[in-house]
């Protein structure tokens, strides 16, 4: 198997890498770029810990080939964190006690961000649907739900009507 070049934007930075055709996006992000906030929990697209945003949409990086991401924009948890402070979803997860062991947290936060970007005022069911692709074994999800609601409330500008 020969390596092939792939180009994409990862966390705002253009990268060109040589990868094998069977290299997953997860492997590329972790091994080649050292983005260890992308977790590997099940390797079969079930647990949601490897979730990253591809052109704003949550994808399971363990089931996405690096070559499939050619030309796309990838956002990982490292890229979500602003230079100063935290993204409102990150802050809400801290304030609402939505973080326990933390292994599912990056995927949960990225899925929540994608939801709020496309639907700034989601219903409880909208949140549950958006996060149903991620397992959390610690929290029972109650405080994760609270956190996303709180982030949405903080996000929505009342003047938007």
């Amino acid at each position: 198997m020969k390596k092939q070049l792939v180009n994409m934007t990862v966390n705002g930075e253009e990268v060109e890498l040589a990868v094998y055709p069977n290299t997953t996006l997860l492997e590329m992000l972790r091994v080649e770029l050292g983005l260890m906030g992308v977790k590997e929990g099940c390797s079969e697209g079930v647990c949601g810990t490897c979730t990253v945003l591809l052109n704003g949409q949550p994808v399971r990086s363990c089931l996405t080939l690096a070559l499939e991401a050619e030309g796309s924009e990838i956002l990982t948890i490292e890229g979500l964190t602003p230079e100063d402070g935290l993204h409102p979803v990150q802050q809400a997860f801290i304030d609402r006690g939505a973080v326990q062991c933390g292994f599912c947290t990056p995927g949960m936060i990225l899925s929540s961000k994608a939801l709020l970007d496309r639907n700034p005022n989601p219903s409880e069911d909208d949140i549950k649907t958006a996060l149903s692709g991620s397992f959390c074994r610690c929290t029972g999800y109650t405080k994760i739900l609270d956190a996303v609601k709180a982030a949405a409330a903080a996000h929505v500008d009342p003047s938007d009507g």
Partner: protein, 792 residues
């Protein structure tokens, strides 16, 4: 003198007024590194020249190893080491000296599908995988046994030659006179309850990184519940001094009982780094995490219970069979704990428990968060059956039998603090239990479970917890503790307590923990002990440091040290906060005077050290016990058998909530794992020893969309010894949630369920074959005494 609940509450309110940090919902100190992805888990570690480790596992449930040929694997380019049982002298692991039955790499036999046979270290995962395929193992297949009944059959093949009838552990407890008491009972009934294996599925798969050094030492990182236990076991197995095994701190992605034991993985990874002189990383696949770490026990429990005409239990005789899998693991503990939780929860004047842990050719069973589903759910289901026969409601019968403070359990543990009655009353009131129970709507049900857990028991390592505190010139402090954080928030708990005592903010306190070289000793974060022991040790270290600060400050403030207070980074005379001196200044003065502030503290729970799981199961087991009650409301679709949980109301006497937000998080997680998952869907399925659902796809765990509304009620009995009165958070909810879900589904359908979890197939089967009268849904053969030949 024992205080009434009302007086305790007043006491609590007074106490809370005096606290600045404990009792408050402060965000966790580790949350920031977890929301940014900075937190480093074991698989995230990268070291120069690191090799990839992989394990070759048995494809057979039971087979003799005839020959292992590693020559082709060793020749493969990029392979640096291949190890087998021949490299380990058959070194065995067991939690206790008398349970050392697991070879860390199999030498003569394999006993389950997944048993470790060989391992490689190679340049990368692909080469390691190819090397495994080149190892040729010749097996001679042996007949296997895959459930308790076939395993104890007189003609069954023996899994370990020295254990007749495959009985690995036998626990016998007999208190009072059970037979005589049964004769005095108004009602006696016997029912049998069966539960399949549940599993942890912590989101982080198991992983180990080990690195050897020229001085002969080894550094090891892995998810663990006790770094010191791991270090001790590795020191023994590798035959290198304890001082040369350094287990390091690492972020841990969940445990739930599944990281307490020692696994061949860490031994193998150490062996590979010692062989190659290079760091080695072994990451388990999800399937390996399921079959080759631990899982819960399948369990058959027969409860024979006798009551007086008011439903008070006068006698109970229980026999349990636990399917232990291939090796002992925590067997003596695992066999005892379902009973011990039960004897803490309910008053039992006469009780007999006979527990058998039985070897089978299946993966190894260990302790899990909802340990003993068939036992606990059986107790509460049977209590509901008795209540119906006697015309009593489920709340009243539980209140009549509930443990009270000041009592002693049948095996001799004094219960100093107990808010169980308050938990039952509050959950019943909040959920409007009695009205919903009596005005029963078809397909809708409400059920209550109650339970109790320990705050610590010995697991091969004793000695409580120690802590040190040092100060920095800016007035900040560093806490040094051996307590490990599996994700539940132990790191934060230690810091919140230290900051409270020292008058600092949590941001002023740094923490070094869970490193066997650098930190103080601690028994480990299993058995719900960390707040009780580790928290107390840090509190005492902080009190010691504070007294040193006060002695120096007393000169500056010209006041008696006993009149001083530390708060808001200052030390001042009580009632005069405006004329204080900063802690930073006191610290610097101490340095100039040659009296640096160095606090130390230790806490060792006051338990009966003579107590032993099998040979002497009596005496004080744990110094404090938590108690919980859960009420679940469900709706059952009788066409599909699907259960929808709508509302869960749970209350736990956690002693004192050091951080209510974290305590609630433990309750909610407990409801998800114990009730929603544990009772409605989670079970492993098997075919002749092969696990059919080791993955997250087929093992059915709850997602966010499945979860009901959860109302959490914190009950605080203020334990006399726990730090600020704290005991433990969440475990008695996890257990009672399973019972509550079970009883609620039963109430919805008028069926007493006795096979768990309540999957839609089982629910439908019970509906279709519904029995008349007060009977369990299915007839199972009862678990009975096993006649064993006396060991020589």
């Amino acid at each position: 003198m024992r205080l009434s609940v009302h007086e305790r509450l007043e006491d609590l309110i007074l106490a809370e007024e005096g606290y600045t940090l404990v009792g408050k919902s402060i965000p966790r100190i580790d949350a920031r590194s977890k929301v940014t992805g900075e937190a480093v888990f074991t698989a995230d570690l990268e070291l120069p020249r690191m090799l990839a480790g992989k394990v070759l596992r048995s494809p057979y449930p039971h087979a003799r190893i005839v020959n292992i040929d590693t020559s082709r694997a060793k020749k493969l380019r990029g392979v640096y080491a291949v190890v087998t049982g021949q490299d380990t002298a058959g070194e065995k692991w067991g939690v206790f000296r008398y349970t050392r039955d697991q070879q860390l790499l199999c030498v003569d036999k394999v006993r389950y599908v997944g048993d470790e046979v060989a391992a490689v270290a190679a340049a990368n995962d692909d080469v390691a995988q190819e090397a495994l395929s080149l190892i040729q193992v010749e097996y001679e297949e042996l007949p296997g046994v895959f459930d308790c009944w076939s395993s104890i059959a007189p003609d069954a093949p023996l899994i370990h030659d020295e254990f007749p009838r495959n009985v690995n552990v036998e626990v016998k407890i007999d208190v009072g006179d059970v037979e005589a008491a049964f004769k005095k009972c108004a009602l006696v009934r016997e029912d049998t309850f069966v539960a399949e294996e549940d599993s942890y599925f912590m989101t982080e798969p198991y992983a180990v990184v080990a690195n050897s050094h020229a001085d002969g030492s080894v550094e090891v990182w892995m998810p663990n519940a006790s770094p010191h236990t791991k270090a001790k076991a590795l020191s023994n197995a590798l035959r290198i001094p304890l001082s040369k095994v350094n287990v390091r701190k690492i972020t841990i992605g969940g445990a739930f009982g599944g990281r307490s034991d020692v696994f061949p993985a860490e031994f193998i990874t150490c062996l590979l780094t010692l062989r190659t002189g290079r760091p080695v990383k072994l990451i388990y696949t999800r399937e390996e995490n399921s079959i080759a770490t631990r899982k819960g026990h399948a369990m058959i429990t027969t409860h024979k219970t006798g009551v007086d005409n008011e439903g008070r239990v006068l006698a109970r005789d229980t026999v349990s069979y636990l399917d232990g899998g291939a090796y002992s693991s925590t067997g003596p503990i695992a066999t005892s704990v379902p009973f011990l939780c039960h004897e803490q929860t309910y008053r039992l004047p006469n009780v007999r428990f006979t527990g058998y842990r039985i070897y089978t050719n299946k993966p190894i069973a260990g302790m899990i968060r909802i340990h003993g589903r068939s036992f606990a759910c059986g107790v509460d289901t049977q209590l509901d059956m008795i209540a119906e026969e006697l015309g009593i409601d489920p709340v009243t019968i539980r209140l009549r039998n509930a443990r009270q403070p000041g009592e002693t359990t049948p095996t001799g543990s004094h219960v100093a603090s107990c808010g169980l009655t308050e938990c039952i009353e509050k959950t019943a009131k909040e959920s409007n239990f009695l009205e919903k129970f009596k005005n029963h709507q078809p397909g809708r049900g409400i059920g209550m479970g109650i339970n109790s857990v320990q705050t610590g028991f010995p697991l091969g390592i004793r000695g409580g917890s120690q802590a040190f505190i040092k100060f920095h010139e800016d007035g900040g402090a560093t806490v040094n503790s051996g307590v490990v954080d599996n994700g539940q928030g132990n790191d934060h708990m230690l810091v919140q307590i230290a900051a409270e005592e020292l008058g600092l903010g949590v941001e002023d306190v740094r923490l070094i923990s869970a490193d066997t070289e650098i930190t103080a000793t601690d028994a480990g974060s299993y058995s719900m002990i960390s707040t009780f022991a580790g928290g107390n040790a840090v509190k005492r270290a902080a009190e010691d440091a504070k007294m040193q600060l006060f002695e120096i400050a007393s000169d500056i403030l010209e006041a008696d040290p006993s009149d001083l207070v530390a708060r808001d980074k200052k030390i001042f005379v009580k009632g005069a906060p405006d004329v204080g001196v900063s802690i930073a200044k006191v610290v610097r003065k101490g340095l100039i005077m040659g009296r640096p502030i160095m606090g130390k503290g230790a806490f060792n729970p006051d338990v009966d050290q003579r107590r032993e799981w099998i040979t002497n199961p009596k005496g004080q087991l744990s110094q404090a016990f938590s108690f919980g009650a859960t009420v679940t409301e469900v709706e059952v679709d009788t066409d599909t058998g699907m259960v929808k949980a709508e509302t869960v109301t749970c209350a736990q006497d956690c002693g004192f909530a050091v951080n209510p937000m974290i305590v609630e998080g433990q309750f909610e997680g407990g409801v998800a794992m114990g009730g929603q998952g544990g009772m409605l869907g989670e079970e492993h399925r098997w075919h002749k020893g092969y696990c059919l659902n080791p993955s997250m796809l087929e093992y059915k765990m709850p997602t966010i969309a499945d979860m009901p509304r959860i109302n959490s009620i914190i009950v605080e009995s203020i334990d006399p010894v726990g730090p600020y009165g704290a005991k433990e958070a969440g475990m008695s909810i996890a257990m009672s949630a399973a019972q509550a879900y079970c009883c609620a589904v039963g109430h919805a359908l008028g069926i007493y369920f006795n096979h768990y979890p309540l999957t839609s197939e089982r629910v439908l089967d019970a509906i279709e074959n519904k029995k008349e009268g007060i009977q369990t849904a299915w007839d199972f053969p009862p678990a009975r005494f096993i006649e064993l030949e006396k060991k020589e």
